[in-house]
Symmetry: C2
Subunit: 434 residues, 2 copies
């Protein structure tokens, strides 16, 4: 099996047992085979077919983006500075209704290129035409948790067809692409799916043994509507419908009461915090310090490029560290190391990949990135975690590996044809705009 | 005089009369000599000694960073996640007390390199050893408003010596470096300068005909202390001391009442909004939409790299557009175009350079930057202002010119020796840390 070696690198491991290691890391096949401080042992050097000189590079686990809609990169910059419902109903949904499988393929390819170029190695994607997204994951070499998000505001036979589509996708793709693809089941949101439909989706998730993913409590208006329609707030509503009886990841969770936070913690529900999208759509500021204090696993998502408008997870990491300090008045809220965990370890945990990705440790998957620090904004060499969180950007990522395979080398994409993708994405957009 | 030409470019002019021009721009000496849509006239081509192919580039005015302390880049990552007073008194000031002129020179050089690499062409700097900062401005080719910030918590003779130093600096450097350097006068803050000392600084500013710059109302604690010490809030306090009798730029202005906003508008005081620094130090969120609505000129500053921790003004522009939507609940607050004006036109206006920089227009200074859009996060080609604000980063800047002279070419610094700067900055830091 292919064995290769990083020498002379600074490893930001995210492993509390050895957070920073100046030394070597060996990869065999898809896994980290060994690592240590100082010079690599002679045996490691002998076994390695290739060597990466780690001088001037920080190595860290690939970032995990736990909420998005990759294909919507086609809609970047189409409609900004609007409220959530107006933006969704009058701008996004009419365009998305016209999306073909090819549009989804090229939009997702565009997103995949951008994610690799900014250090994301695993992403969660909720959309339609998911077989085309899975093809992008397969081709790009990324790792992903994919789910056909279903909106149930339609006749029963259409609801059933959508659910069957989601089930079929999961059967076809779960565990595929050398195990890099996982499937999830997804009611789009409590306000877009009637209760009985959510129950059917939950039942299917039980049958398939899959986790659930949904949007929840993104805007205050949506929470008020839930109370009006169902007499309870979204957390209790979804809990009653069984959504938390399976491993579940909810996106946004901006508007929560203390009781809801306690219930999420009790049920082990993970939250994908999307600070840029929440600010841009004026949804509000999630209670992240309170969620973390309650023991909820909080990870980070970009949401789509239509409400962000990029997929650079370093920005979410930085904003998670900054925003909650400023809003709470507590300068120790979400310290740098915690923000970086949100983008790595907690991301992995929130989609069932704890112990597999999100950390540099022998036995774990070789999903890692190298950040070039030969730049003014990494000087002086003081606290690398601080620099990664407060000073770095995705553009500092030099190399990316997933499953031991290199996807980016000196910022050159090795698995994707970026010229073709830019051309096709632009063409899709122009056809959609009509 | 040297005349050169950009052909085939997309010009984001910031001029409301012609916001986006697909065409050409000619520079002669330090000024924009002409511009227009479509192909450049034959005469322009004939006159140009050099031509820049603008394909795949967005040209816009260089960014204006209206508050910072360049030399503090030496302290990047030294102390994070702390409250303002603790951070200042126990971490920053003890280190800064040891700064020599050489430290200021290399720290400011590091900042200059970072600013050029991220598209800033004009910056405001308040610090000590300002002659060394001026030397950096001279050598780097940047434009700057420089001011020796004085802290008056010291015996009268030291106060006088500091004020004389500030006056001498202004006499020596105002208008120097081919007019790229302007001087200002600066009491550091109302809480670090006794009232009579502020009055003496204001008197000196009148004598020299210079604008004033100060920190104001950054934290709630500081406002409460002002009320306790002087019976009024900082705006009224400074107004009584005459600070607003000259053109004035105040940094932060986070904690303001409606009355204070009205008074700032009435006095024509400009505000430098520093959103990243304000969040990181948990100072709070400035009332930017209210300030803009009242007619106050609000520009953007990074503050120092010690409380940011980078000098990428694109981040401030983006955060200005995002933060106030999320916090106010109004998704139309600070739209993209307004945020970009804050980083360009309003920046220029806030330091008396209106009509000279901050806009691409014949007759104005040739301070401009080129952003490379041949990247996934600029696809599809929809709204360039949206992409610049919501998707771009400083790392997308390919070329930079100030006063018609190129400072950055394909991300290569033409006026600064970055290897030497990194080495010297690291050495300064290690000596300071002791």
């Amino acid at each position: 099996m292919n064995r290769w070696l990083i020498e002379n690198g600074t490893l930001v491991t995210m492993d509390p047992a050895a957070p920073i290691v100046h030394g070597w890391l060996a990869v065999e096949g898809s896994a980290i085979a060994g690592m240590g401080a100082g010079e690599a042992p002679e045996e490691e050097k002998r076994k390695a077919r290739e060597t990466v000189n780690g001088k001037g590079l920080l190595f860290l686990p690939g970032l995990v983006n736990t909420h998005g809609h990759a294909a919507m990169s086609l809609l970047r910059g189409l409609a900004d500075d609007l409220a959530l419902q107006d933006w969704l109903e009058n701008h996004m949904w009419p365009m998305e209704a016209k999306f073909t499988g090819d549009d989804v393929y090229w939009g997702s390819s565009l997103a995949a290129a951008e994610m690799i170029l900014s250090g994301t190695t695993t992403f969660v994607d909720m959309y339609d035409h998911m077989d085309r997204v899975a093809q992008v994951v397969e081709a790009s070499g990324l790792r992903a948790s994919l789910t056909r998000g279903v909106i149930g505001l339609c006749p029963p036979d259409v609801q059933t067809a959508k659910l069957n589509d989601a089930i079929q996708f999961a059967r076809d793709w779960h565990g595929k692409a050398d195990g890099r693809i996982q499937a999830m089941m997804s009611p789009h949101a409590p306000y877009t799916c009637p209760p009985d439909y959510i129950e059917r989706i939950v039942a299917a998730a039980h049958e398939l043994g899959l986790p659930l993913h949904t949007h929840m409590s993104e805007s205050a208006a949506e929470v008020a509507q839930n109370v009006k329609d169902y007499g309870v707030r979204p957390v209790e509503h979804l809990d009653r419908l069984g959504l938390f009886s399976r491993p579940a990841l909810v996106a946004h969770a901006v508007h929560l009461t203390d009781e809801e936070i306690a219930l999420l913690a009790e049920r082990g529900v993970a939250v994908s915090h999307n600070p840029v999208s929440n600010l841009k759509l004026a949804s509000g500021v999630a209670r992240v310090p309170d969620l973390l204090r309650a023991g909820v696993t909080v990870s980070l998502g970009t949401d789509s490029a239509a409400s962000n408008n990029n997929l650079d997870l370093f920005e979410e990491i930085r904003l998670a560290a900054l925003l909650h300090k400023g809003v709470s008045g507590d300068p120790t809220a979400v310290p740098a190391a915690e923000a970086l965990r949100m983008g790595t370890v907690y991301g992995a945990k929130s989609i069932g990949l704890e112990g597999q990705v999100g950390m540099l440790k022998p036995g774990m998957k070789a999903d890692l990135i190298a950040v070039s620090i030969a730049k003014p904004h990494f000087v002086p060499a003081t606290d690398y975690v601080s620099h990664l969180v407060y000073a770095a950007s995705g553009a500092d990522v030099a190399h990316v590996w997933v499953d031991g395979k290199q996807l980016l080398r000196d910022r050159e994409l090795l698995t994707l044809d970026i010229e073709r993708i830019r051309f096709e994405a632009q063409r899709s957009f122009e056809r959609l705009r009509g």
